[in-house]
């Protein structure tokens, strides 16, 4: 009994022998991605004796955790970040560090640094994160199903009309076999790629209104196309009332094509699926565009070890560390090249979808700090459209009214 109490007390009181400095590093990753991050952290520790990198993995509780940390003034030193507008007030601007460091920013995948940059009302720009990994959107297609139907594989530069013809040929709605997976509950951030491809967007470039953008005829066309696909049986709606995983369907040869980032690749590979990867289809006469889904590393303004934190962030972007990261696309072009990914048939399409460095488009959340609320209006409108499978333009019109109200809240 006494031993037990002593043990309990030691457990409570223990301030374990600590390294000279502990650097807190918070991530939302799990599984293989987390293992990679731990390896990078270990590499940094090896190069910096006396430093312990405390990798804090919060999975999908990430936002709750760091919001509480920021609110109480006790955040991790280095954090995974993508939603810069939401956290910008508490992140350390990295402009000076970047300038001093001699980091070759031109080697970063195009536009990724732009997505981590906030423009202030006075015209100045703050870089709030250093990119760590990214993905673009591509079309995955099920080669076995294409072979069986005697269809030619999709080619880069193909169009939505071609995709719909293939989907129609693949679909057997009676047997619950479908040509294309229509995401019924898409993240508006990802969905904007379709709008860009059809010459539209969620919000005006000045970030003041969604009228004529969210409610533009080009936006309605995109939704109408998906609605038509669902109604005709070419496509299957997933994510509304189903447990959301197109991955099972794809693996079971019940789904011919789906558009996504690098995320489902490990699952397709584990299932030893015979699949191909092509660019996103284009709307007739308009080039296809993808946005970039990026993770970056940021430093908290309240960090007590800013210089050390920067050293870690810099190490994270070094070729040595980037080479370890195999769960998405390497953030350094040189590493992508040296790994031969640009010519790898499974990866080439991702790089072809990468927007050019001078692309002026950027995701809606960079245009208005209140986009978070407006985005929820958009999410609801999308659900409404897929529940009704009708009234597209009317739903978008009323959504634009509510979204504009949310922007000024």
């Amino acid at each position: 009994m006494r031993t037990w109490i002593t043990l309990a007390l030691t457990g409570l009181m223990a301030t374990a022998a600590q390294a000279d400095t502990t650097l807190r590093f918070a991530t939302w990753d799990s599984d293989q991605a987390l293992e990679i991050e731990k390896k990078v952290a270990a590499g940094f520790e090896a190069a910096h004796p006396g430093v312990k990198v405390q990798v804090e993995a919060y999975g999908d509780g990430y936002d709750d955790k760091i919001a509480a940390g920021f609110g109480a003034g006790d955040p991790p030193d280095v954090l995974y970040m993508w939603n810069f507008p939401a956290y910008q007030a508490s992140l350390l601007p990295l402009n000076d560090y970047l300038a001093k460091s001699g980091l070759d920013t031109s080697d970063f995948a195009a536009v990724t640094l732009n997505y981590a940059t906030i423009s202030d009302p006075d015209g100045s720009k703050r870089v709030l994160g250093v990119p760590a990994g990214y993905t673009t959107l591509v079309t995955y297609f099920n080669k076995d199903m294409f072979d069986k139907a005697g269809l030619a594989y999709p080619k880069d530069g193909w169009t939505w009309d071609e995709l719909r013809a293939d989907a129609k040929a693949l679909a057997k709605p009676d047997e619950k076999v479908y040509g294309f997976g229509v995401d019924g509950a898409p993240d508006p951030y990802d969905f904007e790629a379709y709008l860009w491809s059809n010459g539209s967007s969620w919000i005006s470039p000045d970030g003041k209104t969604t009228k004529g953008f969210l409610s533009a005829p080009e936006t309605a066309q995109v939704f109408q196309m998906f609605v038509d696909m669902v109604k005709s049986g070419e496509g299957v709606l997933f994510g509304v009332g189903d447990n959301g995983s197109y991955r099972e369907l794809f693996n079971a040869d019940k789904l011919g094509m789906v558009i996504s980032g690098t995320w489902p690749m490990p699952d397709f590979d584990t299932a030893k699926k015979n699949y191909g990867v092509a660019m996103m289809p284009a709307f007739a006469g308009k080039p296809a565009h993808s946005q970039v889904d990026m993770s970056a590393l940021s430093i908290a303004k309240d960090s007590k070890n800013k210089d050390l934190a920067w050293e870690f962030v810099k190490y994270y972007a070094s070729p040595e560390a980037v080479a370890l990261r195999t769960n998405d696309l390497p953030i350094l072009n040189s590493v992508a090249k040296s790994r031969g990914l640009l010519d790898n048939p499974k990866y080439a399409a991702f790089f072809k979808m990468l927007p050019p460095g001078d692309d002026t488009r950027s995701p809606a959340f960079l245009h208005n700090p209140n986009w978070g609320r407006a985005q929820d209006v958009v999410t609801t409108a999308i659900q409404q459209i897929y529940v009704d499978l009708d009234n597209v333009q009317a739903t978008l019109d009323s959504a634009a009214d509510s979204a504009d109200k949310a922007l000024t809240k």
Partner: protein
């Protein structure tokens, strides 16, 4: 001098004893609840974007919520509708299960454990399984329905069915409430039923005349805590439907959570929390006022 004398009187007469008994909670409340609570009341009068400096806004949060926030009104309506389904169904199912288990039965320990099992499993795993069972195209439940020539239901994908589905799923974790009922049932003396039986009172009569009155303190407890649980319900909706489709399961607790942790509008979230708190307190007070009509205590300290 008089104060000191009065104090000595207070201690010597034993008038302090009750306060010593309740002291742990009073101290804990003062230490861990009161401060944060007052802070949240204070902050509800500010515009506080979580990060950055709070700015006093003269109660504008409350004014906006009550006069110009369609989302709040919507979330409140959804919450009230949910509570209207959740509270009676949970209480009735828990009571029925408890009564089933209270019968002399072979392997009753096994059944008790079986009924309680879903309450032991972590919420995340439960929800994963349910979303698979309720899946529109591929779910087992719809498969069984079509076998019986009943048209498939879009359980989680239709704005009409989603709230019902959440209530159905919640019934699965009714084990805690069931156990509390069961302990209450166990403490009702068997001879009361025997006597009633001898005087020719049927099972239903026994339920109304014996079970309900003697169970009423426990029933009151379960009623109050279930009402509170209904208003605080977040996990199920968050994990199962994310408040959708078309906000049909977007409840007050979720709106507060989003405002605080997604929009980082702490002042506004605090104001909504206080309004919700007042609403639940009012409801509970009403339940207690009415409870004197139906709750029967063996020994009440008046």
């Amino acid at each position: 001098m008089r104060g000191k004398a009065a104090r000595r009187h207070f201690w010597s007469r034993g008038a302090a004893t009750p306060y010593l008994f309740v002291a742990p909670w009073v101290i804990g409340f003062a230490a861990f609840t009161l401060g944060p609570l007052l802070f949240s009341l204070y902050i509800s009068f500010f515009d506080w974007p979580l990060i950055g400096t709070p700015a006093f806004n003269h109660g504008a949060n409350y004014v906006t919520i009550l006069t110009d926030d369609a989302d709040f009104l919507h979330a409140l309506t959804v919450t009230l509708k949910f509570a209207a389904m959740f509270v009676p169904s949970n209480l009735i199912v828990a009571l029925l299960l408890a009564m089933l288990l209270n019968q002399p039965l072979f392997a009753s320990g096994f059944f008790r454990a079986a009924f309680y099992l879903p309450s032991i499993i972590s919420g995340v795993a439960l929800v994963t399984i349910w979303s698979w069972l309720l899946s529109h195209e591929y779910g087992v439940i719809n498969y069984v329905l079509t076998l019986a020539h009943i048209p498939a239901v879009n359980w989680l994908g239709s704005p009409n069915w989603a709230p019902v589905s959440i209530v159905l799923v919640s019934l699965w974790s009714v084990g805690g409430t069931m156990l509390i009922f069961l302990t209450g049932l166990k403490s009702i003396p068997k001879d009361l039923y025997e006597a009633a039986s001898l005087s020719g009172v049927g099972p239903f009569g026994q339920f109304v005349l014996i079970t309900l009155p003697l169970l009423s303190p426990v029933l009151l407890f379960n009623l109050v805590t279930t009402v509170i649980a209904a208003f605080q319900q977040l996990t199920l909706a968050l994990l199962l439907t994310k408040g959708g489709p078309v906000k049909s399961t977007y409840m007050l607790a979720m709106y507060i959570y989003d405002t605080a942790f997604k929009y980082h509008d702490m002042g506004y979230a605090a104001a909504m929390s206080w309004l919700m708190l007042l609403l639940i307190i009012a409801l509970t007070l009403a339940i207690f006022k009415l409870s004197s009509l139906w709750v029967f205590y063996e020994t009440e300290v008046k």
